[in-house]
Chain length 146, copies 2
DNA sequence: ACATATCCAACTTATTTGGTCGGATATGAA
DNA sequence: TTCATATCCGACCAAATAAGTTGGATATGT
């Protein structure tokens, strides 16, 4: 029941992009340095985010990545689902309304999985990238004044 | 971000035990037949539940397993944590109140992980085994009358 | 004594995770 | 036009984890 590094690194990369790509293109290399994530691996993660439509790229010198939308229009749920797939605790078609569980006839455990799934999605869909940027700014501020 | 078969099978086994171990010992074999889970594997899963104190065993002929408490005193959270370990989406000591993230200085993603973690635990701690037994009984009833 | 059980460690296999590597392609600037 | 800087992309790889099996020891009611 763990998120993979894709989700963790990817979310950090998106926060980094939100902060740094306001005017300029941001290269993998610079994100990689700030976030201490390997360039090669980060490249693959950002490819997923691009495919999902949350970042756009410019190739060549002075190229890099930018967000496609404002940070308040991208939720943590959008990002995590792009990287991790659905956030259901089980692969279970019945989570979407079917009564019969392939695993063992009628099983009540699906009610549990559904509620977990709903609660996770509710949390992540109600935190925007902007919210995290704001918190990061706050933290940086309080750090600077020490 | 998936639960393993341990969690899924184990919860079903506990529901089965709650329904069938009211008077009699229940053998692995019988659970295995009803739930269509391999005897060998189920044995290992139930060993974890025993270790965690939710089931007790009697060896030898006519032996088997029983719950140690009433089903309304055992939560789904108790069961899942016994089988899956903590239900946090990331292994992050900072989820418990430290400010500094070993991964990359100060990171705001921890607020996200904490909220996910809290919401999952809140859900599973508020569903008891008895709740699931009740739902199962309802389903069986409505099935029987078709 | 024997069938029925749990107990338990060691082993195996398949899948997923977490990357790396090498080269192709694009492009702004010197 | 060349070159450094980028993205793009498929193939590959090692380690960890999940999922399950096997074999035998031990206990116990009949």
């Amino acid at each position: 029941m763990k998120l993979s590094t894709k989700g963790r690194y990817g979310l950090r990369a998106m926060i980094d992009l939100a902060i740094h790509s306001k005017e300029n293109q941001v290269s993998i290399k610079s994100i990689s340095e700030r976030q201490e994530i390997s360039e090669n691996y980060l490249e693959r993660i950002i490819a997923l985010l691009k495919k999902a439509g949350y970042v756009k790229s410019t190739r060549g010198a002075q190229g890099g990545y930018m967000l496609t939308k404002k940070p308040d229009q991208i939720s943590v749920g959008n990002i995590l689902r792009a990287l991790e797939g659905d956030l259901n605790p089980v692969d279970c078609s019945l989570i979407n309304d079917e009564k019969v569980c392939s695993e063992s006839g009628l099983c009540v455990t699906k009610f549990v999985w559904k509620r977990i799934s709903d609660s996770i999605n509710d949390v992540v869909d109600n935190i925007s990238l902007q919210d995290l940027v704001n918190e990061q700014v706050e933290i940086d501020k309080s750090q600077a004044s020490r």
